[in-house]
């Protein structure tokens, strides 16, 4: 359990002043407690949402505990609740920054999810540093990628490029996907090497990003992939990407897979072929 007790003392007045804790929208500490006991993600989410503006000391500790729940959806809604209470959010963020620097994988995961979901831009330097840590496992690094993806800030690019070279394929794939969702991202060049990754999920994710961002320089590589990659999801994504790139040179490759043995590929190839004028 994250202990922010000492820091909460700074806002002791605040939580005391709101102690009645029965909401106009029907939220209450008791209902949050019941939802947590039910262990239902939907119920927890609904009651935390309903307590959007509810402040009470009991709620703070309960929701704080949820920041370390095993389920992302629960951590996410708990972080949102804090995002609606910026003063408290800043206090919790401080403790999570420490976890980014020195915590284990799960602590890094929880910290990154909180800082990302609360759009704590000032945490970007710490997120950039954390992705370079050798002693953080894939679950933590996936959360680092998720955090910068949610923020959508170009200051998170270093996290993504570092993650693209990670030893875990899931981390590489997530980074390749997230690259496209950063606001103001102009080039897919850092993703192109992943088209030759040894993992099919990474290749598939890279193909989507390269196509979605219109990175024409990757057309030849995608043409090779669409006809020769053994994984149908990769061939499908490569076919889709070629449709986005609109290169006449891609016609031959797309025609070759218009009758692909996989139902994932055929129509995509034909539609992409039809779209190239």
């Amino acid at each position: 359990m994250k202990n922010i007790g000492t820091k909460l003392a700074a806002v002791a007045f605040l939580v005391c002043v709101a102690s009645p804790a029965y909401a106009g929208k029907g939220g209450s500490a008791a209902k949050i407690r019941d939802a947590i006991r039910s262990n239902s993600v939907d119920a927890i989410t609904a009651e935390i949402e309903r307590a959007e503006s509810l402040t009470c000391s009991e709620c703070v500790q309960m929701v704080t505990n949820l920041l370390e729940d095993d389920r992302y959806a629960v951590r996410e809604v708990a972080a949102w609740w804090f995002a609606k209470r910026p003063a408290l959010k800043d206090m919790v963020a401080e403790t999570f920054l420490d976890d980014l620097a020195s915590g284990g994988t799960i602590k890094v995961r929880n910290a990154a999810d909180f800082l990302g979901r609360t759009v704590t831009y000032t945490a970007l330097p710490a997120l950039r540093a954390a992705i370079h840590r050798d002693n953080v496992g894939p679950e933590g690094k996936l959360a680092l990628v998720r955090a910068v993806s949610y923020m959508g800030h170009l200051g998170g690019n270093e996290v993504l490029t570092t993650a693209m070279a990670d030893g875990d394929a899931g981390v590489r794939a997530a980074a390749a996907t997230a690259w496209r969702d950063i606001l103001g991202q102009t080039s897919a060049a850092p993703v192109v090497p992943l088209l030759a990754d040894g993992d099919a999920n990474v290749r598939a994710a890279a193909a989507t990003t390269v196509g979605g961002m219109g990175h024409v320089a990757a057309a030849a590589q995608l043409e090779t992939m669409v006809v020769s990659d053994p994984d149908p999801v990769v061939r499908r994504n490569a076919a889709w990407a070629l449709g986005k790139l609109q290169q006449p040179s891609s016609r031959v490759a797309l025609a070759a897979v218009a009758a692909d043995q996989s139902g994932l590929v055929r129509m995509t190839a034909r539609a992409s072929l039809a779209s190239i004028r």
């Binding site: 002043v17 993600v41 307590a51 402040t55």
Partner: protein
Amino acid sequence: MKTYMKTIAIATSLLTAAGAGCGSEETSGPLGNVDSLVVLQRPKRNDMGDIFQYTSYKPKTESGVNARLVKLEPPTADGKQTVICCDQAGPEFANIDISGYDISFDAKQIVFSGKLAANQNYGLFILTLADGSVDQIPTDPARDYVSPIFLPGDKIMFTTNSVVEAGARQHRDEYERGTTLQLGRINTDGTGEELGARNLSHRTFPTLMSDGRVMFTQWDHLGGMNAGHLMFVNQDMTNLREGFGKEGTGASNSTLKAQEISPGRFVAIATSRNRTIQAGALIDVRLGVTETDGDSVLARERQSEANATYKDLTPDVPHDMTPSADTVGRYYDAFALNAKDKPDLVVSWANGPVESSVLGSAGLEANFGVYLLDTARNQRHPILDHEEMWDVFPRPLMPRPVPDISGSAVDPTLNGATQIGSMNVYNSSLKSFAPGSIYGVRVMEGFSSEEGFPEMFGTTMFEGQANLGVARVQADGSWLANIPANVPIHVQAVDTFGMNMFSEPVWVSGRKNESRVCGGCHEPRDKATVIDPGQTDAFAVGATQMYGLTPRDQRMSLDTSRDKVMGVAWSTTIQKIFDDNCLGCHDSRNLAGMQPYTITDPMTGTSIQWTFNLEGTPLPAAFAEIGGEPAFTASYLSIAGPDMEAIEEGGLMLSSCSAANCTKLNYAMPEDSRGSLLIKTLNPTRQFPTQTGERAFNTTPHMAAKGQATDLTGDEFYQLILNIDMGVNFYARENNPRLSVY
């Protein structure tokens, strides 16, 4: 394989009784002319999310049964079940979960939404029933595509979180935070994907009407509005119109999964937004005046929200999130088998509480099965219930009429912009305007936190907004503006002082080259608008240009003069006004001698005080919670006031004195600059058509009353007015924290 029928014997007898009994002219029951039903079977689950969530993925039951489409032939409890998808489709489909489907008009194909693996997204697939082949429709692999329906002309409509606007992120719902779904369509051969104009929140569960229009559920949030309503749109995603649920016609907070019973008449789910597994009561919505045609009841004439009524088909089922009682349960969806006054429905229903918390506490999951519901007798007759699966969306596998293609003419001369306007803005069912009182119509663009803002734009719960401009209302009441396509906007009628007279309470948007000219300002929908001599003055004058072709990231302005101002950032634009004009009396020294108000917790007796202060300094810690973001300032708290939901929900007491020098709780009312104390006190000068010294109120302006030699400029007055009429936000694009380097 497990047995799927729990109640075969009783089901058979009940189905017979339901169909042939009581002297009905039908000899084989409501399903008598249906050879087979298609049913979607999904592994049971508890956590679906609220009614707009679409990412739930659970491909297999604990015993290893896959999500699948089955055919039940005949559609009786002892009918033969055949898995029609996707065991035969190849190893790529081994872990598919299916969320929804539709049967083609000729009943030869099925389009469905499926997710192949946890690390993929929901995509669209077409199943050809003759040979069992499955082909994926090409969509963006990194985005979700769900709720597909067939459209005439070999097209498929869907909802998706793919974004129509290049370089932009999809809107995130301000409250439940989901990446929103919007409408789109694609040809059945995979070509020609089009994405519709966006709402700020979700759109879901489209369904095709016999008149060719598409009905769907839209989440509406603008200020205090928070509800799911039924809307209409043409098949080309133009001409968005209200359907049901607004103007006090709704049966519940949310209305969803509508299916046409007969023209103008629909069966739909009425429920809470969350905690009910996307299930609820069944209502019979009648949009127009009811008429009878043989056994059928229709409501096609004079369809409008004002004429809309509904009948509760399942009166015992809660319309909110209350756990439903044993034998009452909740309905996941319904499909009408006839159009009788009390129709027969094939439904998906689950017994018990069907409420997330109760189910979670008991370690249970709702068990939806397929039933024939006789609404006249309020009897349910079981047809199919797999104990490990949800049996949902039962549909007759049979050809159906193809509606006409519905669409709107587009105007290519708009070059990609959208044109909006009214023929006569004084024609309104919601507000009466004095003739000549409206100077123009202000258009404002909306956006959410997806552009990189913190969770709250201010303490008033309004979304981010940017002013696109004011279109002058012409002598005949008409106005016209060219705005960016695909962008949610809302409009306000404004007076010559630039102050809001009436705010349209919804976000609307239009497609590229779409011309959306209404009869009035929310005019009566069941009456024709008569235009004489056939063309409006606004058409003759030409549309006001409002950044119609300007990219999103350029729709901001550091020039805050009246005709250039877009976002009104508190920390820069508004604070500068205070710094330049007000701090002599209203800084922390409080030379004006203002008295504080007090917020007290009646339970503990603790209290805090706030005194009017227009400095741009951060809030004290004790006010950070009810005052909003740490970045929010003393001036913002003084003018916008504390988060009133926090005050209300905290059960706190506010007390102030009544003298003129007492600090009031707030000085700005969102969307009501004319009623805001700040504006009334300052008494602003006229803005339109030109800025003059004429005052808005017959009172002494504050600055003059206090002996100040100068007053605010016309531009400064307008900045204050605009900020208030756009929701009294602290953040605008112009002070978006994302624009900084970290």
